[in-house]
Symmetry: C2
Subunit: 361 residues, 2 copies
DNA sequence: GAGAGCAGTGAAAACGTTTACAGCGTCGTA
DNA sequence: TACGACGCTGTAAACGTTTTCACTGCTCTC
């Protein structure tokens, strides 16, 4: 690209490191070293350089830096949507940790479309981010997994870490870090909480085949039922996606078909719980007097509606993802690693002991 | 950086455009032209190049591209926090439009700290984003404005557009686009809504000197009172920041001091409304039976709690910001521009006509 | 007092693209 | 049949950094 052809007069152009070097009377190498912190330099030189930077209002060109140096000092995060509280909190954690480590944060959204997710990973590959954090659940489709595994290898080859946040590993020999939280354990614990209160017919809202998150949660739910010797009725597992309006729909349709055949509701997440709660109300059913309800995630709607739920360390998830990835990048080790963060129940006011109508003890 | 010193054997390195060119039997210029869409090329060549790209799994290096070319194909957004629904929705709009325009999105957070905001703008300047979108309100401090104006000029010089989203212009000769929404008009409309229902003592929650958003909203509130010939009682304007727990605090403290001296609450935003609602409840006051309440923003909590509020076109705000900025970048014109998006009331179920206790008609 | 070490600096080669310019055929026209 | 035009391609400079290597002067230590 030949920018300045004959005469150099075409208006002011941004200051470069060369200008700073000239103004400070040193070489560009010295300026680079001092500014990037590679080497402090002699106090006098250092002062001169920093003054030149200030006087010329110099800012480095990140593109040039990324090209010449090894890393581009950035962290990429790919989520379904930015407005969903779950992703927003994880993203916030990523942001926070990235800022601490002096990296900036690139965000991509997929709208839950696996194809778009794959494309976005490619985009991040172009960007040469130090790590690419994939958060949230997707269909555990085999073809998809194979393609993602291929991308993972490509990323590793280019020196960036792939982190799977809240989703299972791609395979034993795929270079990717995994930061999870205990979906199954949380679901087990909160189902047990309901069972201890005497509930036996617990409606699970949000079953979804091939989606890992609801699958893990439903597994905990089933295991708790089994451990408490309560019969498992597949009819109590209602299919729906993890959104508020879906919770509303699932309950509405159920109640339209007849009176409630359950005493408690385990909503797949808090959003579903909020929607379900509204539908129950519109049918004259109160929480917790008539129906008990629990959720999962402990995100904003939960506190507002006094929902007993499972707390997920969202921000910690994001922070851990960044921390692990950068640590791993420094260590140059390539073996997969896996971390599981714990969850715990937050008891509010949406569960009451069931009123036994006679019969068994 | 001298990477390959003596022998070329140090494991596989990422594919470059040169590899593609060699593999396809053309020059790098041809590959570049075909891939960047500058020139389609002859069908046969085109096919060969694209096949080489596929076979070698080539992805371009965004840093090199940004360095050599004029633009870095990215859009930057700076917000207080990613988890706050207001910012999240604007960010989502930015994301969406950026994706449509084929740009990627860099996000920075400030934690409401003006100093950090300024620093983040500098960071984005390094990044050579095509536009830098600043969203949300800040203290309208004069020193801050001067520094930001200086940064705005620097950004303009470097060829990127500064967009102020939901905040007032920096000054007449500062090169920045402004995308606003009608805070004052919305507040006026919803205050009028309350006044029409007979409310005269309306508590405003969230006054904050020097913060532009609450200031604009309170201005609409005052104007509505004046136009309806209702006395303005400064004691009804409660100071607090725009968060949920602050809404809770403001009402709690007020009610701890004595019985309610108001019949309606105008919460500075929906988050405050949610917190205030909880506090009212804990004091045995129901909405809307005992106290009417309205909010501002029309974000998730609002629908959940049936809040009458002012709808703000958050996503549209973000999309417009990106659209305007890129349009402006193409047109190369440097004059400031300003756009104001409208708002409208969303009536739910949180306002009831006031019950007159005798006296006046 | 001489050699080794070391702190500080400079010159220049990369990094992987884009793009201005020039060169080459091939085609339609005179 | 010869000539300009045009479509397609190649060569090479430039973008603004980082980093290797080499070179100064110094200060120690023996």
């Amino acid at each position: 690209m030949v920018r300045r052809a004959a005469s150099d007069n075409e208006g002011p152009r941004p200051t470069t490191i060369r200008d700073v070097a000239a103004h400070a009377g040193v070489s560009v190498a010295t300026v680079s070293r001092i500014l990037s912190g590679t080497y402090p330099g002699a106090p006098a030189t250092r002062t001169r350089v920093l003054r030149a930077v200030r006087e010329l209002d110099y800012v480095a060109n990140a593109n040039a830096r990324g090209l010449a140096g090894a890393s581009s000092r950035s962290v990429a995060i790919i989520v379904n949507s930015v407005v969903s509280p779950h992703y927003a909190h994880v993203a916030q954690g990523v942001q926070t940790q990235a800022a601490i480590e002096g990296k900036l944060c690139i965000v991509g959204t997929t709208g839950s479309d696996p194809e778009r997710e794959l494309a976005t990973v490619q985009l991040m590959r172009e960007e040469h981010a130090e790590c690419v954090i994939l958060v949230g659940n997707v269909v555990a489709d085999e073809a998809y997994r194979a393609r993602m595994a291929e991308y993972a290898r490509a990323l590793a080859l280019a020196g960036s870490q792939l982190v799977l946040c809240g989703r299972p590993p791609l395979g034993p020999d795929v270079p990717a870090l995994v930061v999870e939280y205990d979906n199954t354990g949380g679901a087990y614990a909160i189902t047990s909480h309901l069972l201890s209160a005497g509930h036996q017919r617990i409606l699970f809202l949000g079953r979804r085949d091939n989606y890992t998150t609801p699958e893990s949660r439903i597994a905990g739910y089933r295991k708790a039922l089994a451990d408490h010797h309560v019969d498992h009725d597949p009819g109590l597992e209602v299919e729906g996606s993890m959104e508020r309006h879906e919770g509303y729909r699932m309950i509405s349709e159920r109640l339209a078909a007849g009176p409630p055949d359950f005493t408690a509701v385990f909503a797949g997440n808090d959003l579903i719980a909020a929607g379900a709660r509204q539908a129950l109300r519109e049918h004259g059913l109160r929480i917790p007097e008539d129906i008990s309800m629990v959720g999962f995630d402990d995100l904003p709607p939960a506190a507002d509606i006094g929902l007993t739920t499972v707390h997920v360390p969202h921000e910690e998830l994001g922070r851990t993802a960044v921390r692990m990835a950068l640590q791993r990048a420094r260590d140059k080790s390539g073996t997969p690693e896996r971390v599981m963060l714990g969850t715990h129940i937050v008891v509010r006011d949406s569960v009451r002991p069931v009123v036994r109508s006679g019969s068994r003890p």
